[in-house]
Symmetry: D2
Subunit: 446 residues, 4 copies
Amino acid sequence: MFERLRQARQNQKVRGDLQHLLAECRQLLTERGEANSVAIAQRAIDFYRELTPEAAREFFGVLATEFDPDPGEVLRLAERYAVSRSPENLIELARAAEPPRQELLRRLNRAPQGTATIVAMRAQLLQRLRQDKSLSAVDSDFEHLLSSWFNPGFLRLEQVDWASPARLLEQIIQHEAVHAIDGWADLRRRLEPDRRCFGFFHPALPDEPLIFVEVALLPEMPAAIAPLLERKREAERDPKQFKVAAFYSISNCQPGLRGINLGNFLIKRVAEKLNDEFPKLKTFCTLSPIPSFVDWLTKVDAIESPRLKPAAVAVLNSSVASLKSRHGKDLASLLAPPAAQTEKGSAADAAKRDADADRLRGLCAFYLWNTHSADQTPSDPVARFHLNNGARLERINVAADLSRKAMRQSCGLMVNYLYDLDQIESNHERFVNGEANASRAVKGLF
Amino acid sequence: MFERLRQARQNQKVRGDLQHLLAECRQLLTERGEANSVAIAQRAIDFYRELTPEAAREFFGVLATEFDPDPGEVLRLAERYAVSRSPENLIELARAAEPPRQELLRRLNRAPQGTATIVAMRAQLLQRLRQDKSLSAVDSDFEHLLSSWFNPGFLRLEQVDWASPARLLEQIIQHEAVHAIDGWADLRRRLEPDRRCFGFFHPALPDEPLIFVEVALLPEMPAAIAPLLERKREAERDPKQFKVAAFYSISNCQPGLRGINLGNFLIKRVAEKLNDEFPKLKTFCTLSPIPSFVDWLTKVDAIESPRLKPAAVAVLNSSVASLKSRHGKDLASLLAPPAAQTEKGSAADAAKRDADADRLRGLCAFYLWNTHSADQTPSDPVARFHLNNGARLERINVAADLSRKAMRQSCGLMVNYLYDLDQIESNHERFVNGEANASRAVKGLF
Amino acid sequence: MFERLRQARQNQKVRGDLQHLLAECRQLLTERGEANSVAIAQRAIDFYRELTPEAAREFFGVLATEFDPDPGEVLRLAERYAVSRSPENLIELARAAEPPRQELLRRLNRAPQGTATIVAMRAQLLQRLRQDKSLSAVDSDFEHLLSSWFNPGFLRLEQVDWASPARLLEQIIQHEAVHAIDGWADLRRRLEPDRRCFGFFHPALPDEPLIFVEVALLPEMPAAIAPLLERKREAERDPKQFKVAAFYSISNCQPGLRGINLGNFLIKRVAEKLNDEFPKLKTFCTLSPIPSFVDWLTKVDAIESPRLKPAAVAVLNSSVASLKSRHGKDLASLLAPPAAQTEKGSAADAAKRDADADRLRGLCAFYLWNTHSADQTPSDPVARFHLNNGARLERINVAADLSRKAMRQSCGLMVNYLYDLDQIESNHERFVNGEANASRAVKGLF
Amino acid sequence: MFERLRQARQNQKVRGDLQHLLAECRQLLTERGEANSVAIAQRAIDFYRELTPEAAREFFGVLATEFDPDPGEVLRLAERYAVSRSPENLIELARAAEPPRQELLRRLNRAPQGTATIVAMRAQLLQRLRQDKSLSAVDSDFEHLLSSWFNPGFLRLEQVDWASPARLLEQIIQHEAVHAIDGWADLRRRLEPDRRCFGFFHPALPDEPLIFVEVALLPEMPAAIAPLLERKREAERDPKQFKVAAFYSISNCQPGLRGINLGNFLIKRVAEKLNDEFPKLKTFCTLSPIPSFVDWLTKVDAIESPRLKPAAVAVLNSSVASLKSRHGKDLASLLAPPAAQTEKGSAADAAKRDADADRLRGLCAFYLWNTHSADQTPSDPVARFHLNNGARLERINVAADLSRKAMRQSCGLMVNYLYDLDQIESNHERFVNGEANASRAVKGLF
């Protein structure tokens, strides 16, 4: 009895919050909303924060159906503009075709915590979007606006180090997505003088990194991840003497900013900054995972590629056949560290392993470069990201990451992508034109 | 001979810079432009800075004709959207209807000096727009973007005082538009403990105020400007004891941001800030000029107002007739300070002056409240600004500004607009509905 | 053979460093040293850092014997000053009587890392001093200078919180001396909004706290330490509502500053600061350990006190006899938590425990107030510190700290000292005059 | 009648303030003063600020007579120390011989505005000292302490530029002592990119420069001051290209720090800083005035110098005779700019002027190097300062400063002192040994 009453009251409050929120949103878009927008936006934000998940769902639904452009009006103005391409006609058309929820978001943003709230709203919207595709146009408006506001020209690049606020470092530990940070001691190792960490920050979210990258300063291009993460620093070495900067991890921190490409800008800004600070640096590269190599290898049947010579394709297919016939059920253990196989470890076994490693390397090179059936671009997301940024596929490293996760994903292989600052633009152009940006060594693999 | 050669070479360079600039702009909008945008944008900005005024003109022309939406495409998508209001159709339509130069500006903005350059570009465009209305849609895109980027949620409110950098103070001196600052000693007076100055700053232009307001802390609402500007401070008084904050000057600093309303937000933020800092403050008001009162009075023939009773209109018209018959040729000297008329100053003269002052006050009240024939809103821009912000017409002050400029514009009258923080929203609403937000005293004047 | 050679070379270097250091020190005190002091001091510091412990010992020895005043000269000038108390005579006498090593240290301080080096030097000297009392005059000069330089007027009070640099927080973890901080999560709890931490910093050592204090904001005066240190925060409560600020830990960070009283100043500055920030705070108190109570109780035979009435002394002595007869061998377990004794826990046992607790409380009150046989001041260092600062002995808490260390030291008792900002000066004066600054409740205990 | 009453009351207050101040001072030195020193010091400072000049005089008198060491006690301890040079004896002696007012000042310094007050006290004391030499030992104690506290190791070097707070720049205008700054526009010229200004700051007086130096970056060593001060900057030139840094003005800002040498440290720190920032800088020099050259020339009768060869002395004396016989009454106009003499300007006149300039140059070189009869050091204070710092007399410039002041002081001559960073130490040593640190060119002049 009481429970039903309580529930009814709760429902009433929920509906109340949502109705209040919608009333403020409508108000915001009136003329009155222009003059008093900060106060109205503040109230709207307060109501939004009170919404239950269901009410939020309903709110996004109303954004989709009530705050979109009027089709008749747009059509009328599009016809007028088609007849006369005058500035007045264009101005009116552009205004009518922009979904009103964009202006709604701009006005919500005027309140003190506006930007943070809108980023959080989009995170919630994205979760909802998975089940409800009818929200895609709403999300498109969020993305459009956030992309304009989180324009690289507005971002601050900041070094993160042991003098950074604990509050910030805590977020670095939490958001590191590639090679998990195991507490403060582990973090500290990654901030020693031979390491660097940089993040992008937006002035409206001053305490929250948007994305950050971790860099190791090294004497040479790294072939394995473990030495980079080891807690103990080697003998002190003056960081000014290092020749290679290896980007070994890049992590996004804001789910609400999905789809807004910041990584490309971050890597280049950091490379330029390090280039200025350390004149001896000659090489900027990554040490990157290959998240779905084993997946692809498991599924691939017969490799075809109009861009390779038939002989090369034949070699690749024979490698697939050979590996699958012997390791078909468990490709992940293909190169499992010898430690696990010591007893039977003979010279013959070692030779077999070497041959298998060569086969894997060749297949991996092909996979990273040219596997998307439709457009012949890489289907590996990391490869696509770096090659599209203008990097070059430099080296494929066997036994580079022996963690269980990496063995399962890529038989322990990792890649170096090379960022040659002078070649970035032309590399990107070549990539767009379908040419392989790969070192001679990698090209020799397939 | 040589001169023609020189001229030819110069022309060649001009054309070259423009062609290079356009090439980079086109590049920026390609897929390649996405990945390398910072470098391309940097080059585009460098070329833009080299443009001669004529070349800049031509550049804006190309922005107008080449970077606008394709009418056929928009029409096609508008028709599709009219048939089916699906998210996909809307997304495509919105993209096609947004002029591509908006994306161009967003990508230009990625370069280090991007925002400053775009603001400067718009300042140049606005000058050109006066003669060439065909650029209005281009300007509309600039305004649309800048308005989104200079959203109050992104602005920092900062106090300007004697500890501020000289570089900043120099700009305050230069941009003060209402009561000119006569050098550093004058500025210093305006930054004493019983004065306040606040400005809005954008993170991308950290050293440049966008707009600033000057405030005097006072024991009572001020009736004249001269005492506020006097160099000598009265006996020290603890600013915490003051009851009135009078906003006596507000100035924009960025011509490139014209049309982007920041003043409304600035005044309210500052009022709230002062309210927190000085709990004894009871009154927030302005002491404002009436720039075109004499102009209006000179031109006005017969006052009509459907909103006033006929008797009130009759009084106003008789005031007009009386003043014009006697001072028609020189309304500005109507209330010229008695100093200039001492010889003939008799009791009768003084009485006449008082009667004239009453007439002027009545006409001024009418002028400030209700003079726009079309919509019955104030035609005075300052009144429209403050009343629309939610302020109230509080008091009309005679002999409030005896400077030549003020005598010519308003016979020396000034107004106090009152910002009652609790009434701002409802005042604004009433104003929109055509009601007079005026004190009882002012209402009694017409 | 080689080893002897290596050893010989090493010895040579050691002697070389020391001789070079001494040469630079002598140089520093010449006229030439005045003009080029920064360069000479820099070299001296570099040599000092190279010294082996033995060489440092020798260096201190030379400071003691070579850089002290000339007895004959001082005597001559003291005689002259005794004859004529003229300014000239005094100036010369004061100069001659000041050990030249003070000027030496002042000149060493001119080098970039001078102050840090001198503080580190003193830390080393203090260790040496334990075995070699002949260095006491050298140490006296270090203390004299450091006390002048680390004058509270030169120190910055800074709040330490979760936004502080990790580098600083790491030092807080390391130096906490009263209730050890068990890693970053524990530290974080101590920096939540209902906790405060403040430190003193010197401008010449900007990254190193000199001393810090931890404070809990609470609804009432705390009777036990465990709840203050618990990781989980109770339900959120607005810190502005709290009435009590309890100083529960104060730790020095710089061994080289031993003997320079900073704690007194820190507590008072922090109390004033909190008083300003939280107007509802009524009570400033500590929750303090009693490090040697059990030690004293173990050794005490017959209590005598000329300041107490014979009856009170008799009660105290009967308590001692009662406790010792029953728990003589293991006073520490006297009030061990009942958990360990559950089985036999009867009503009679509980009554006994209560009686024992009362006896302990009485003896502890006496111990804290009046146990130093010579001057009748407290022999407990914590009590002496706070009572001398002007605090009052407010309450003795049983079962306040159940850690093994605290059981061993004080049978688990802790004390609240009360800092009444209005009474601090008069309390101090009364303390100096031998009066008890204790609450009525505590006075009733003995 | 009333006036006498008022006067009497005033006298009473004056006496009261002084008596209160002295009471607090005595209190500060007691044991009680140690524990409550901040509060007591605060009251003492407040009373001090109320003192009339007469009362301050009396206060200094009491400092002199009451807060000095006890002659009998010092003598007793000096005798003991002469018998046994033990650490204990020394510690007691040093304590007794240090005037108690030093400890008084150290305790006063604990109050918030302590340091600023003590510096202001000394400024007042120095004025008083001119008439009352009995205060010299008091002043010696102030100087001793301030010199320890304003140790270069505690000072921050800061660049002053157009981004500095107006409050600070105002002080630069006010304190510039060598070439007066004529308002903000003049100051701005001195802060352009080809100029530098650096000051020393103490953490306890964060807004007040202690001393500052102005530097011009130039293509070559400057021969005249006017071009350096001209408002208009020459064609833009990248400051990184300059080869010479000329220190053309150095000014103290704190009269209370007289006698505490900061200039030596400032020049060297700035030279090192510029050396780091501008790797192309080869020459650090000054362009300095010669304040008393004409004074000396007017008074000098017959030059004698044991360090010069008789022939050189003879030449100098003949120059003196020649100049005095012709210009005896008005040496200042000796090289007055030809403008004033145009009419009679003939070739013969020009030749005479050149000859006179040579004579002046020779005499000036001698004057700057070797004129103090007692110790054969320069009697010119500027020369003594720079040569003692380790600079070299590099060049004497005729017609270098045509201002009336400079003509009167030095017939318009100015000097370049050269700071060769590698030679500074050895130059200083040579100077102390009486050798001339002068360029070959200057040595050739006498």
